[in-house]
């Protein structure tokens, strides 16, 4: 069972505190939403959880082992991250790019087999890019590039998925499609996801747990029902919030 655990983690960037003494346990079957205003440090925190940067103090444990002691290749087989920006510089095909997700699973001289190719084709279909397999990545639109990056992550098959604003550049239909895919990973495959989001209603619809960053190192973590309410959101975004009851549950709007 793959878990990601933070123990009294202090994270900061350029002297600005992001999280102070963060204790967190991400276990299979949990879908975390990471909420906070612009520039509060959501990306920095995710990078720290991915082992890309080291915290000021405290430890991140992946499968009960400190992240700094695990080789990058072993981390990549367990943990994957969708970065906030996706820019493709060189002309590669969509299929080739999706196949890069197999990289940590293959030895130096090993080539991708039919099995790997099938996984890539499935992932491409899962993000509605079927028919694009031989297209060149430099010609994709922002939203298409975003979906392709997510497909590569699916091909990587990590037990822990870190997603930095996965719905960026996506239209409403594809926002829901991507979040559905993440939900499938969490529920059907017993993986665990943490997703930085700006749309609190997507968090309300999909997430089981919420981590809120308030700035100055203050944070709150817990079950979605305990945290996602009008009062907390007003405090989080320092802006009036209205809540409305819909057939699918409570949703939130900016108030006056």
């Amino acid at each position: 069972m793959t878990t990601l655990v933070c123990q009294s983690l202090d994270v900061s960037i350029a002297g600005k505190k992001i999280a102070d003494g963060l204790d967190l346990e991400l276990t299979p079957g949990q879908f975390w939403g990471l909420l906070g205003p612009n520039g509060i440090g959501k990306t920095t925190l995710l990078k720290c959880l991915a082992g890309l940067s080291t915290p000021d103090s405290g430890t991140v444990l992946l499968e009960d082992q400190s992240m700094v002691e695990i080789p990058r290749r072993a981390i990549a087989r367990l943990l994957g991250m969708l970065q906030q920006h996706t820019v493709y510089v060189f002309d590669a095909s969509v299929l080739e790019t999706a196949l890069t997700g197999r990289h940590p699973h293959l030895g130096h001289w090993k080539r991708e087999g039919a099995h790997d190719k099938q996984k890539a084709l499935d992932a491409i279909r899962a993000v509605d890019l079927d028919g694009f397999e031989n297209r060149c990545v430099t010609g994709l639109s922002g939203g298409e590039a975003r979906r392709l990056a997510f497909a590569s992550l699916l091909v990587q098959e990590p037990a822990i998925l870190l997603l930095d604003e996965p719905t960026n550049h996506l239209d409403m239909r594809h926002q829901v499609r991507i979040m559905d895919r993440v939900e499938e990973q969490v529920k059907n495959l017993q993986r665990c996801a943490i997703t930085a989001l700006h749309d609190v209603n997507l968090a309300a619809r999909y997430c089981s747990h919420i981590l809120m960053l308030f700035g100055d190192g203050k944070w709150r973590a817990g079950h979605v029902d305990d945290l996602l309410n009008r009062k907390m959101l007003q405090q989080l975004y320092s802006c009036p919030v209205e809540s409305v009851q819909t057939s699918a549950g409570k949703r939130f709007l900016p108030g006056n």
Partner: protein, 328 residues
């Protein structure tokens, strides 16, 4: 881009053309040989033209091949490191650094066997200088890269001019030709072929890692690459290949730009195909360029660097314009 299934056939075709070119161009030159004469010379090195073919033309063609393939490989590596298809050892001053260091060694009478080490040092210093200043993403990265490279290159050019202006007149012509990239007196020492073969094997083992690195350093780390180690290895390989090429033929420009670019158009950006294709085509390209250089104004011989630059400069400008249109 050609279909994946044809890529292997293309490599075989390039291999045949590459090897064939080295032998065939030995028939061409100021003394042109007919097929019969050429065959006789090839089979019997003591025949009338045997000496010409075996002692002069074949070693020169082999040197051209080795230099071309090493520069093409080095170009591919630098383009990955910088995530920019405009990177080239000559344009970014890496060849310049190697040339300056060797020239300085020659002036101070350093033994010939140590000159390649000086070239390596010069290449490493330039590559680290350019890369530490010009790496990164940001909207200015392309401009910053080219500016840093061009300034580094002109810095080396100034130091080289200083040495030249202090050198005696009788050695000037030889030095100038060498600096422009010249294969007239070039031969390939065994160690250079060793460097070429070893680098190719090593790079082929890293080819999929290079694909990942081309997507950015963070992406590469997330996909399991220990990027710091990988980057150092690639820096070192790119410098070593450039330095070896420069030790053989001086600074031949733009091969590292032209060859990978053309091969990318044909085979795409998967380094498992791109690297061998660029290596083979780089060799072929320089063999043909050098043949042009020694025949176009025959019996007058041109430095091959003149030919490659005349082909490379328009292509570079074209690429730059395309990058501008794309907003890269």
């Amino acid at each position: 881009m050609i279909p994946t299934t044809l890529r292997r056939s293309l490599l075989i075709l390039l291999l045949i053309m590459s090897v064939g070119s080295v032998f065939l161009v030995s028939a061409i030159g100021s003394v042109s040989l007919g097929w019969g004469e050429w065959l006789k010379a090839m089979t019997d090195s003591s025949s009338q033209h045997g000496e010409l073919v075996w002692r002069l033309r074949l070693p020169r063609a082999l040197a051209a091949w080795a230099v071309g393939s090493m520069l093409a490989m080095s170009g591919c590596l630098m383009q990955v490191l910088l995530r920019n298809p405009l990177a080239d050892p000559y344009v970014l001053g890496v060849s310049g650094g190697a040339a300056f260091a060797s020239l300085l060694g020659m002036v101070f009478g350093v033994a010939v066997i140590y000159l390649p080490w000086l070239a390596l040092l010069g290449a490493l210093v330039s590559i680290l200088l350019v890369f530490s200043l010009a790496r990164g993403t940001g909207p200015w990265s392309g401009t910053r890269l080219l500016l840093t490279g061009v300034v580094t290159a002109s810095g080396w050019a100034a130091l080289i001019s200083l040495i030249l202006s202090l050198s005696p007149d009788n050695s000037l012509r030889g030095m100038l030709f060498w600096l422009m990239g010249d294969l007239s007196y070039a031969t390939v020492p065994g160690w250079a072929l060793g460097v070429l073969a070893a680098s190719l094997i090593l790079i082929m083992g890293l080819a999929r890692s290079l694909n990942v690195l081309a997507m950015g350093e963070t992406t590469a780390r997330l996909l399991g690459e220990p990027t710091r180690r990988l980057l150092w290895l690639v820096y070192l390989l790119a410098s070593m290949l450039t330095a070896t090429a420069v030790s053989i033929a001086g600074s031949v420009g733009f091969v590292g730009l032209i060859v990978p670019h053309l091969m990318r158009l044909v085979v795409g950006s998967d380094h498992r195909i791109l690297i061998p294709a660029a290596t083979l085509f780089g060799g072929l390209f320089l063999v043909l360029s050098d043949t042009l250089a020694r025949t176009v104004l025959s019996p007058q011989q041109l430095p091959v660097g003149v030919i490659t630059a005349l082909l490379g400069v328009p292509l570079f400008l074209l690429l730059l314009n395309r990058a501008r249109l794309k907003g890269v």
